[in-house]
Every structure is written in structure tokens, then in C-alpha cells.
Symmetry: none
Subunit: 219 residues, 4 copies
Amino acid sequence: MDTPLPKAAPVRTASLGKREQTKAQNRELILDAARQVFAELGFGATTVRDIIRATPLASGTFYNYFKSKEEIYQAIQDDVALAIRPRLREERLNAKSVEEFISSTFRTFFEFVSEDRVNFQTMRHSADTSRFRVDTPETIAGFAELREDIEKAIAAGLFPPVDADYLMAAIVGVAFEIAERIAHRPDHDPAAAAAFATALFLGGIRTLPVAAPLTAGTA
Amino acid sequence: MDTPLPKAAPVRTASLGKREQTKAQNRELILDAARQVFAELGFGATTVRDIIRATPLASGTFYNYFKSKEEIYQAIQDDVALAIRPRLREERLNAKSVEEFISSTFRTFFEFVSEDRVNFQTMRHSADTSRFRVDTPETIAGFAELREDIEKAIAAGLFPPVDADYLMAAIVGVAFEIAERIAHRPDHDPAAAAAFATALFLGGIRTLPVAAPLTAGTA
Amino acid sequence: MDTPLPKAAPVRTASLGKREQTKAQNRELILDAARQVFAELGFGATTVRDIIRATPLASGTFYNYFKSKEEIYQAIQDDVALAIRPRLREERLNAKSVEEFISSTFRTFFEFVSEDRVNFQTMRHSADTSRFRVDTPETIAGFAELREDIEKAIAAGLFPPVDADYLMAAIVGVAFEIAERIAHRPDHDPAAAAAFATALFLGGIRTLPVAAPLTAGTA
Amino acid sequence: MDTPLPKAAPVRTASLGKREQTKAQNRELILDAARQVFAELGFGATTVRDIIRATPLASGTFYNYFKSKEEIYQAIQDDVALAIRPRLREERLNAKSVEEFISSTFRTFFEFVSEDRVNFQTMRHSADTSRFRVDTPETIAGFAELREDIEKAIAAGLFPPVDADYLMAAIVGVAFEIAERIAHRPDHDPAAAAAFATALFLGGIRTLPVAAPLTAGTA
DNA sequence: AATGAATGAGTTTTCATTCAT
DNA sequence: TATGAATGAAAACTCATTCAT
């Protein structure tokens, strides 16, 4: 548990910048470590010590940047949501049809997730086999945005007058769950996943693309 | 320090003398308390003390029934999955068409969730606004069963040759996410939700039932 | 600093009482240790660890009894004040003259202090040579009582109409400061000290008892 | 995390160029902050961070002026004692009678305390209602001086042969305790307080000045 | 079995002090 | 010299689990 790890030389960035740089860098150092550890151990099992141990820094340093485990976790989640929310929103607002609305939503989401795997990766205990998913307020706000956009689209006549709340839930559920599957496949092909989800939402199961011989990954 | 709560008289079933009874009763007492507390605080934040405090029993007693916090947690989750898995499986194996397969899956799931709210309820910290979802091994095994059944249905020619892994993910995602919405609605109508999800999977958005004047749900 | 002390066998009081007894005993164990350590190191320098280390108990046990260093400190001080306040008050209310009021006050106080040295002992850092004195709310309430009693005595014509606030302060100042001197003398003779203070208050310096050849203690 | 307070522009005395000046100025800046914070929080509860936070300077700068928290604390206390001890001593050595000895001691002390309130102010936690008093070595040395002077006065036949140690204690006790009361009165009148204490020591309670209609002080 | 205090390893957190810039 | 982030030893505190009663 306490394997001290031959610590890499502390990052001090002597040459180039100045303190500012080191500071930003160390913050990132801690965030990266946290992402990694959270992904490996899950939120509950992770301790602040685990995080600093995955860092060349000293324990006290953590508290120069974050007040607690909860705070850094939120910071991570919010980073993600803040990065993707505007992109998603823009796509949806530009959509001229149901097709565009749905396909751009899934495509953007899956692409983002593929690029930003470390951040996204649903947390899981390595010790046990449980699966965790946590949505922070920022994420939840993203869900609300989606519902609003659906409502606008209905008002604009773009969508039929469906239950916007359920439709939002369905999109979110499919998006996250399939994203999880993508992460588990050797080739992760966001475009194929987006095609799948889009077809499902536009025409139902019978219009889904035919699958390659495919060997599915395991949970 | 420990808001002591005027504890109800310890359950001793003095009169009946049936030891066995008390035992089963206490086990249930602890399980109920745990379900409640886990639902309120989430797994990580819950302490064994929190659980026994919600019980008329003493802390040591906990360990007469469960080896650890992990064990009781699993016990709860497994109860759920164990109760619903066979029902879902049976429905699907009896399905004679895509329609039946999909509609019975959603209907059974949503009905179960409605009946068994305490157990299902996605965990959320009451303190903050984050949302937690945890899938235990038992649950995950249920996912695998679903995928197998889809694969069998494809082999049997019931389903078109779609990506079974993604389809499973889509079903699971929609099921859990809409279940969450159901729990948030004043009237929770599993039949309506099942109709929605089924229509979506069978014909896509354009075949969804038209919504009532629509009252937006709450985040 | 960490001399672990061959710990005395943990006090479990197997024979006589029951848990209640052990509990009360352990509480006293901790209080005694705290009194000792506070007296030796002073409040500021004392850590909770120091206190439990002076005890055969485990660290967590401290927190079964006291929330923090502050809390146990208050408990100690309050014990003292609670024990002596009623005694002092009774004496003063029974006083039939200035002489009785003053003499009984000092006599009672110095006797108490002599008996209860551990509790009283003004705290001092052994590391440095500073001297600490702390008055808790309970102590301060005792001061207020004294002032009230003086005011009553003035109203009753027992005392001349002096400044009750200053007189109270003078009594308190002399009482504590001389008590400190008593504690530093090889023979501590509360009666002699009381005679000194009483004479001072009743007739001033010129009526003080003549001193023995006197070897003064050191600060 | 650290309520940053819009810091006043760091004192750099840019224009004047006098390094020396800035240096002395910063030292005073830190001392003033420390006096304030110590008075508010007490020694134990005060952190070096608290001190520099009350300053426009940076934490490291503290150590250019003082080696440690202890050192600055001593510096403050010694300032006080160093300022008043010679004055007190001179007065007492010049005393031609018991009256002069006693009256000049109290007068000088109370006047000093009135002028120099910030420094004197007995430390108190603002949070709770406890009262702290700390005597440093320098202060204690002042006590010893007082005792020596009493002994000399006895030897010179000025004083009757009383217990010099107790008399010193009585004077110190009354001086500090009444000083504390002075600080709590709206009008703080050192002369009146000195008159009170002097009368008490010279003739006892019955010779005390008659009190004004009396306004009770505050605890 | 039930009880609930004791345990102590493990975690979180603080803070005086150092040190590169 | 001033700065303020980094350090890490030490303190505070928690909590799952044990165990005498």
C-alpha cells in the first residue's frame, strides 16, 4: 500500500516561466494524479494520500490547491462538463432537423469522450467489480440544458411534441452507457457509436446499422 | 456527540420466545436502516455507525449479521438484482418478437422499480447536489444476461444482426435514466414510461407517444 | 519526547462493578493525566497525544470522553470552580462582619488550593519560564459572585460603600497570586497565608504579621 | 482558503530609498500585527500565518525579522517589561516612606497600562469567554525586583518586617487584576485605581475611598 | 446473541519553516 | 530583501472492528 515510488524530480520549471507556471503545472500534476487514482480506485476508496502519493509533491501541497477530496473531484468533473457543454449546446442550436439535433449530439459527445478518456472514464473500484457513476452539479446542469433545447425544438416545430424530460433521460442514458462501452473496446470508434445511437433514436432498432461479426468486450 | 435519538425499545420479541424470529427481524432491521442511509449518504460517506444509529441495536450487533460494510452493501444490491433478474430473463426468453422483447423488458423493469423504490433509488448525497449511481457485480451480471439474450434473439432471427453490446448499453442506459426520472415525478407511472421507451426503441423519436401538456420534471 | 512508558495494565475493574465503573474510572484516568500534563507543559504546548500517552488507554478512547483539548481543559477548570464556589459563597453569606467575610474567603480558598494542588497549579511551560493563568467561564462566574456578595454586604451596611468591582479584583488578585506562592514554598501553610491576606485587607501593610526569618521561594 | 484581504500596497518606501527605514518600519508592522493578534487569539491559538495575514507582507518575510513565533512573543512582552521596569524601580528606590513606595508603584503601573493598552491587554480568546494571562521571564524578573526592593526597604527600616514574598505577590495580584478592570471601564482612570489600591495597602478596607454611586463593571 | 466501550491503524489537516525566484 | 509556494513532521480525528461483560 505504501510503495513509496522513486519520485520523479519535483517539477520546478526553473528555466522558462516563473512561479506562476510552476503553480499551474503543479495544479495540473495533482489533477492528473487524482483523475488516475479516482479512475483506478473509485471515489470512495480514494484517499487524499493516494493522490499525493501519485505525485512528486508533499502532502501539505495538496491543501494549497484543494480543500478536500470532494473539492478536487468536483473540479475534475466540472472541467469536463465546462469543456463539453458549450460545444454541445452550439451544435444543437444550429440543428435544422431532428436528424441534425440527434446526430450532432451523439457525435460530439462520443468524440469528446474518446479524446478525453482520462477525464471521462467512469470510475470503478479495482478491488471489487462495482461500477460507479457520479454526476456533479455542472453535469446535471448540462442535462437541464439538453432538456431546454429539446423543449425549444418542440416549440419550433422541429421535434414532435414528445415528453422532453424522458427524451432527455433517454439521450443521456444512451450517451453515457455507450460511452462506457466505447472505452472498453480495443478500437474505440466514436463515429460508429454515434451512428448506432443516432439510428436508434431516429428509426428504432430495425433501422440500426448491421453489426460486424464483432466480439463484444466485457464489463 | 452522537445525537442519541430516543431509541425505540430494542427488538427482543420477549414474549414469543422465538429466537429465530428475533434474529430474522434484526437482520431486516439492519438491512432497512442500511438501505435508507446508503440512499441518503451514498456508500462512501456512510459509516457503520450511521447504520446502527438508525436502528435500536448496538454497534457490535451489526457484526453478528454482516462481516463488514461492504458485505451489507452487496447484500442489499444483490437482493435487488436477484429479485428482478429472473423475472426479466423469463420475459425475454418468452418473447416472440422484437416488440415483445423490448416492451416486456422495460415494463417489467419500471414496474419493479416503482414497487421497490427504496432499494432502487439512485444514491444521492442529500448534502450536495451530485448524483451517484453504483452498479454491483450482480447488476452487471444482469447486463451480461441481457446481452446474451439479445445475441440469442439475433441468432434466432428475432432481431436484426445489430451490435448486441451497444444495444444492451442503450437499453440499460434508457432504463436506469428514465427510472430516475420516474422517481422524481409526482405521479410515477411505470406504464407510461415503458410505453415511451418501447416506442423509442421500436420506431425512433417520430413514433413516440405525444406528451401531455407537459410539466417539466425537476433536476 | 516519546518515551512510551511501561504502561500499567489497562484498568478494567473486572471484579466489582461493571462497565459503568470502568467508564467513570477511565474518564478520571484521562482527567488526571490531563491535569498533570497541563500543569507540566502548559495549555498551549500540550497535545491530546501527550495526554493519552500519560494514560494506559488508546488514542481513540480520548474522543469517547472529550471532543478536544479545549473541552477537557474546561472540564478540569470547571470541576475546580464548581467544587469551591458553593463553599466560598456559603462562608461569605454567613459572615457577620468585614473580618469574617474577608478571613473566611481567604482561608477557604487557600485551604482548598492546598488540598487540591494538582487541579489548581497555575500552568507553566516547563520548556520556557513563562507563566500562564487561565480563567474559564465558570471561574469568572465565581468572580461575579464575589462581587455580588460584596455589593450585598455593602447594602447590608457590613462593608463601607467601596468600589465593589475593584475590591473584588483586589481579592481575586491577591488570592491567586499568593496561592501561587504557597505552591512554591516547601511548607505550604494556607493558614499563614490567609492570616497575611486578611491582615492586609483589614488593616493594611502596617498590621501585617511579622515574618519569620523567611527564606523566600523563587518564581 | 485564506481570506486574502485586499492587502494594502506592500510597504517598500520606494521613494526615500532608505533601506534602513523600511526595515525598521516592517519590523514595527509585524510587531503591531502580532500584538493585535496575540491579544485577540491568545498565544497558543495564534499562528504565524495569522500574524502575517494582518500585515501587507509575505510569510517568508516574517523570518527575516524573527526566528520564530516564540521569539516575537518574547519581543513583545519584553518590550513592555523593559519599558516599565526601570521606571518602577527608580520610583521605589526614591521612596522615602511606605506610602511613597506603595503609591508610586501603583500609580506608575496603572498609568503605564492606560497608555499602553494594546501591549498590556490581557489576552483573551474572542471566541470563548475564557481569560488568559501570561507572564514572561522579563515580567517575572520584574516581580523579583519588586521583592528585592521590598526586602531592601525592610532592611532600611522603611517597611515593617513582613513576608516580602507574599507582599510582592499581593501587590502584583492587585496590580494586574485591577489593571484588567480598568481596561473594562468606559472611563479608565488610573489615578482613581491607584488611590484605591494604595489606600487598601496602607490602611485596609475601612480606609478605602468611598465609591461613586457605583456602576458595576462587566465580567 | 446483545451490548457498547476500547482499540489503533489510517486519514485528514495544520502550520512553522525553508528556499527558489 | 521580499516573496509565497513547498515541505513534511506532527497533530487532530475517524471509524471499522474486537471483546469483555
